[in-house]
């Protein structure tokens, strides 16, 4: 293993590869895209470029205990879209959501046939824990998927961090990056490229970040840092709905998932006075079935009103239920069971405290990401997107991201059947990228470490762009201050210093997060209304503005470097009131 800085750029080895379809990111969406492409045509060369190792990369590293969207018998794709639309406050791409819903069950059934255990009723049918979600035992679901990916003959290049696209003047022609273990510079030319590198965690400061050992106590995977968005932003791709941030009620301190408790075991959220918050204070918005942003902001409003702490009340649970609930956690975030043990907490006596998470940009839960067409192609020809980086469809969760992987692969295979091969001389682009990528490694030692920049960025975003410590609240003047400082930080990137390859990876994580943060602030500034309190709370514009009923999109003008903002109209396909989950 090479772990020291090269003496100079000329000594860095270049690896040049060619493939038919390049997939950036081998999480569940990327793996499903790869498998689907090989299924359509096994002669195609399909390559996954993965920052970590596909056995445990992406959000599913620890596992998962449920598939949150699976269409039961008797329900239709339109039913799911109606529910999802209302949960997201009436904003979603109905064209894309329908296509996903139509395919939704297929990848899950395939995953089961490859080895994923799904909980069953006595009659053999899947065990639903809510109206759309089925219970699974998914602690090893990612290794199972990775095995299948390799078995299909997909080329997997682990431990290579993508840094920028190759561009032939008209279309995306692959990507460049560096090996975090071997220190080599990678150039992968491709006829089509699928971006599947996940959402963005760590843009905001988590509230547990008060000591040396808690920096990554995040709900979302902290190694998904928005690289997938950043590559598109830097190449002028159109992005949508970044301002619809995902923040949710999570277990306090551990910052872990809560649906396992609240949906499976019907535990109500209560305040310090013992009031059932959603049933008693949010009846008009749907009570326990209120939209997700309402459920996210509800406990924070209680804390602000002096009625905290807030809990999910587990005190009625039987010993058998508690055992089963802990087993569910072992399948998803096992260390939550350790957390309870480390606090000697008997949840039949003491309820589980909850709090809001730090905000994430994650297209699998909300609608942030690339603006795509119905072939899952982005506005950059030759570039497709799936999973958390693809925008427009909230509430995709694991199953929807898998289905999207398949849909993006179908789009990419169709594209390469008619497109010409990328041509041209990439050498100037490659040289420029190589010096950009390795700059922090050959920089002056009297520079700034990636960690310092990361913490500074997270504090700016938390305090001025509506982080959890500010109860998600923001206004124009604070957003302006956040923007000014994020721009100053981007200018300071020339002082980044990385002492080894691991720090070089951290350096690029900061670079990518800053690009995402800048676009995010512009989106938050543009939406001068409060459409999703909690996710997007504008103290200076507390009401919904009907004139903003649509998608807020952005694109970096590559000539001026400015982020251009505009509104795209909403298109309704599925009948019904957009704020109501049923007809």
């Amino acid at each position: 293993m090479v772990d020291s800085a090269p003496e100079n750029l000329h000594k860095i080895e270049e690896v040049v590869l060619e493939t038919d379809i390049l997939i950036i990111g081998g999480g569940n969406a990327g793996c499903f895209a790869a498998i689907e492409a090989k299924k359509i045509n096994s002669d195609l060369k399909v390559t996954i470029m993965e920052k970590a190792h596909i056995d445990r990369s992406g959000c599913l590293a620890g596992g998962m205990d449920a598939i949150n969207t699976y269409i039961p018998e008797g329900k239709t794709p339109e039913d799911l879209v109606r529910w999802s639309r209302a949960q997201a406050g009436g904003i979603l791409r109905e064209d894309l959501a329908l296509r996903i819903a139509e395919l939704l069950n297929t990848p899950i059934e395939e995953w089961e046939s490859w080895g994923l255990p799904i909980k069953k009723n006595e009659d053999g049918s899947y065990k639903f824990r809510g109206q759309w979600d089925i219970a699974i035992q998914g602690s090893e679901m990612k290794p199972i998927l990775a095995e299948k990916t390799r078995e299909m003959g997909v080329e997997v290049i682990n431990r290579v961090v993508a840094t920028n696209f190759l561009y032939d003047g008209e279309r995306i022609a692959g990507a460049m990056g560096f090996g975090v273990r071997d220190g080599k510079f990678y150039v992968i030319k491709a006829k089509a490229t699928i971006m599947a590198a996940g959402g963005a965690g760590g843009i905001y400061k988590p509230y547990t970040n008060d000591g040396n050992d808690c920096h990554h106590q995040l709900w979302y995977c902290p190694f998904d840092v928005g690289t997938g968005y950043a590559l598109g932003i830097r190449r002028g791709a159109e992005m949508t709905t970044f301002e619809m941030r995902w923040a949710a009620v999570r277990t306090k301190d551990f910052n872990g998932p809560i649906d396992t408790i609240s949906i499976c075991y019907k535990t109500p959220m209560i305040n310090a006075k013992g009031e059932k918050i959603l049933a008693e204070r949010y009846q008009e918005q749907g009570g326990d079935k209120a939209p997700r942003y309402i459920r996210a902001s509800a406990p924070m409003e209680e804390v602000l009103a002096g009625r905290g702490p807030v809990y999910v009340d587990t005190r009625h649970m039987t010993p058998a239920q508690i055992k089963e609930m802990k087993t569910d956690y072992l399948n998803e975030r096992p260390s939550f069971v350790l957390f309870l043990a480390a606090n000697a907490q008997d949840i039949s006596q003491e309820p589980i405290e909850v709090y809001g998470s730090d905000p994430y940009i994650v297209g699998g839960h909300t609608a942030s990401g690339y603006w795509i067409d119905t072939d899952w192609q982005t506005t950059l020809p030759g570039l497709f997107a799936c999973g958390d980086v693809a925008g427009g469809v909230p509430n995709k969760f694991v199953g929807g991201c898998c289905a999207e992987g398949m849909l993006s692969a179908r789009g990419a295979v169709q594209y390469i059947s008619k497109a010409v091969e990328p041509a041209g001389d990439f050498s100037a682009q490659i040289d420029m990228e190589k010096s950009r990528v390795f700059a922090p490694l050959v920089a002056d030692e009297d520079g700034i470490a990636p960690r310092l920049m990361e913490e500074k960025m997270q504090r700016i975003m938390d305090e001025y762009a509506g982080g959890v410590q500010q109860f998600y609240r923001m206004n124009e003047e604070r957003l302006d201050k956040a923007l000014r400082h994020i721009k100053m930080m981007k200018d300071q990137l020339r002082y980044l210093y990385a002492k080894d390859l691991h720090e070089l990876m951290l350096a690029h994580e900061v670079i990518d997060r800053l690009d995402v943060a800048e676009v995010l602030i512009q989106h938050l500034k543009f939406r001068r209304e409060t459409r999703w309190p909690g996710w997007q709370t504008r103290m200076d514009y507390p009401e919904v503005d009907p004139a903003l009923d649509g998608f807020v999109n952005s694109r970096v003008n590559l000539e001026t470097g400015e982020v251009e903002m505009y509104l795209k109209p909403y298109v309704q396909i599925v009948a019904g009131h957009r704020m109501k989950p049923t007809l």
Binding site: A52, Q217, P334, A341, N343
Partner: protein, 110 residues
């Protein structure tokens, strides 16, 4: 402060180019120390996903809660079987709980 490498048990996966924990860690955090034993290069950057703990053939890695959010000493130890994991959890007062969870469909069933 997760993960904790038990130096008396870790053999650095001697036959492997990289120890298994280093191969799988999603955060590129596990590496080989100068003593030939596994080492987490940045404890604070761990996500507690337990991938390293599960994959270790020697049972030489323990996952610990950061002290800032949990007391000492609690343990959660996975024993990987062919199609199941047996988890042992010990709380700070020594109370033990066991869980056996199927994690893979075996080929000879259904």
């Amino acid at each position: 402060m997760p993960p904790k490498v038990l130096l008396n048990k870790c053999d650095g996966c001697r036959a492997e180019h990289e120890p298994l924990c280093e191969q799988v860690c999603p955060g590129n955090l596990m590496t080989l120390g100068e003593n030939g034993k596994a080492l987490c290069r940045d404890l604070r950057d761990c996500w507690d996903c337990m991938s390293c703990t599960k994959v270790c053939p020697q049972g030489a890695i323990e996952t610990r809660m950061p002290y800032q959010i949990g007391y000492h000493p609690a343990k959660l130890i996975p024993m990987m079987g062919t199609n199941r994991i047996t988890w042992t959890c010990v709380d700070i007062n020594g109370k033990v709980e066991r869980f056996v969870v199927k994690n893979r469909n075996s080929e000879d069933e259904d």
